[in-house]
């Protein structure tokens, strides 16, 4: 059922994407043998570019796949992604321009650099670097799951679809690795703009075409169960804590901090951050597709050809294919496909920065610049392929659940990174213990909530109702970090 017009549009645009990626090398030229030139594009990105670069992290395959998939399966609960997006930029406004200013004065490239300097603790800095690298991995894997969803829909008619799909992913990743190796963040930013244009065109077209073909939203909500119309009361605590926990976590991810530090000035960073909630509008439309799809018989029919567990991730690509004309589907599907590729590149680069600067360099302090950049580039390639291997081995639904665990982990670096910016009384030992306890208790609660079986839930049942584990573990972590620092301060005063 996939016409040639779909394939032609898809492939033509993919070639344009590759050319842009390699061209990035020559764009706003700098010496790419320096880490800050390669990884932060020489810190020269203005309001608009930072808006696109950070927005690109938001509009990942995660928003195309995981959120609509969650709404499709569980209803209103997964709409938490919309207020979360709004809230996270408020938190960012208070924290990241300050981090930018310090980074600018002292030459930090990662959050770990800041922590090491602020608390003079190598241990804490290395722990934070490792947490960042680990938490980022399932996020990259999810991007690949999104790309897989596009390929699955496009290859639905092929007998050996599985093989074709894996080869296609391997080829795409090799190309991606090649251009991030040569162009660094410049290539990623250029392709991010390209990707965002495709995504916005798709979102706008879909929001006009779908209600028109369905005769408004009224009927849509009459076709679904009550938990798709509003949130069941029992899930209200879960909803609030999912908003809060995710909003606190987003800007702690290494790729987000990387994006922030590539801004040209704190003022430009503030302006672009303040406008980023607009990005959530597209996300809201995508989330609603998880409900809309129930009113589109052709899409539901198409989905019924796939195993039930993988239908969710195919919601958006199937809707596009079944409602839009063929040539347009090609464009839109490519938008989703590169919507996974571009963030994967940015994420792997930020992991590589952490590995070389904050782990390898700690062990070998006199590493020459030329080796540093080489190791960083190679590591960013390796991380991409680790994530790819992960997706080939682990089923897609499992990858989405692991992403929630990533959120639980990354939230634990908040006391050192965010509070470290403003609170003078924090001390390194309580922060180290807090981080360790936060992570251990977080992992334990995730395991317990899933009866030590496959991860499907990140909510922990408490007397207040089910709560997002990231928030509970962070509360424990904060209590230790602040409590411990207070005790140490009193002890110092007595002596």
């Amino acid at each position: 059922m996939i016409g040639q017009d779909v394939t032609i549009g898809f492939i033509t645009l993919f070639i344009a994407f590759i050319i842009l990626g390699f061209y990035g090398r020559y764009w706003r030229k700098g010496n790419l043998n320096h880490v800050h030139e390669w990884a932060l594009a020489g810190k020269k990105l203005g309001t608009t570019l930072v808006f696109f670069l950070i927005g690109a992290d938001l509009y990942t395959a995660y928003s195309f796949v995981a959120i609509p998939s969650g709404v499709f399966a569980k209803g209103a609960l997964y709409f938490f992604a919309i207020p979360y997006v709004m809230l996270t930029f408020g938190i960012a406004l208070v924290t990241v321009p300050k981090l930018w200013t310090l980074a600018h004065q002292k030459g930090y490239i990662t959050a770990s650099d800041f922590v090491k300097d602020r608390f003079s603790s190598k241990t804490l800095a290395i722990m934070i670097a490792i947490t960042g690298i680990v938490a980022e991995l399932p996020y990259i894997a999810l991007q690949i799951v999104g790309m897989q969803a596009v390929l699955t829909v496009m290859l639905a008619d092929f007998a050996n679809a599985q093989v074709v799909q894996e080869i296609a992913l391997l080829v795409s990743f090799t190309i991606l690795a090649a251009f991030t190796y040569t162009s660094g963040l410049r290539g990623a930013t250029l392709t991010a703009i390209f990707k965002d244009i495709l995504v916005w065109v798709t979102v706008i077209a879909v929001i006009i075409a779908i209600p028109v073909s369905l005769g408004g939203f009224d009927n849509v909500f009459k076709n679904v169960k009550a938990n798709y119309v509003t949130l069941p009361d029992a899930l209200v605590p879960a909803y609030s804590t999912l908003i809060l926990g995710s909003a606190l976590a987003l800007y702690l991810y290494p790729h987000a901090i990387n994006g922030v530090l590539s801004a040209e000035s704190a003022k430009k960073l503030r302006t672009s951050t303040a406008m980023l909630p607009f990005y959530g509008i597209g996300l809201a439309i995508l989330a609603l597709m998880g409900i809309l799809v129930y009113s589109v018989p052709s899409a539901m029919n198409f989905l019924s050809g796939f195993p039930e567990s993988s239908r969710g991730i195919l919601v958006v690509p199937s809707l596009i294919l079944n409602i839009m004309p063929g040539w347009f589907s090609g464009i839109a599907l490519l938008g989703i496909f590169v919507g996974g590729l571009v963030p994967a590149a940015i994420m792997a680069m930020s992991q590589a920065n952490l590995l070389t600067r904050n782990i390898i360099k700690e062990i070998k302090p006199n590493l020459p610049d030329s080796s540093e950049i080489r190791i960083t580039k190679i590591a960013s390639t390796v991380f991409k392929f680790i994530a790819l291997g992960f997706v080939f081995v682990v089923p897609a639904t499992y990858a989405i659940s692991l992403q929630l665990l990533g959120g639980v982990l990354i939230a634990q670096i908040l006391p050192a990174v965010f509070f470290g910016l403003y609170v003078k009384s924090l001390k390194k030992v309580p922060l180290i213990i807090g981080l360790a306890v936060g992570i251990t208790s977080g992992i334990y609660m995730v395991e317990a909530a899933n009866d030590f079986g496959p991860l499907t839930s990140s909510l922990f049942k408490t007397t207040f109702g089910p709560l997002y584990i990231a928030v509970i573990a962070l509360a424990i972590n904060l209590a230790i970090s602040f409590g411990g620092s207070l005790v140490l301060k009193k002890k110092d005063q007595r002596m």
Partner: protein, 66 residues
């Protein structure tokens, strides 16, 4: 005194959108609908348009300070 007042204003510009969106029971209802969307959905989408007004005001004040 002026100094403190400004900080309260700044805090409110971030806290008001946050608290309203975290207070889920406030908007967890189906009616009134807008363009066929239940209140729950359009209320949260509306905040994506309102929040930047708060945030841009915050940015303007902070950037002027420096």
């Amino acid at each position: 005194m002026y100094f403190q007042k400004k900080h309260i204003v700044l805090a409110l510009l971030i806290l008001i959108p946050s608290i309203i969106n975290l207070a889920v029971p406030l908007y967890n209802k189906a009616a009134p609908e807008f363009l066929g969307l239940p209140f729950f959905y359009w209320f949260q989408i509306a905040w994506l348009f309102i929040a930047p007004v708060f945030y841009l005001t915050f940015s303007k004040i902070v950037s002027k300070e420096k």
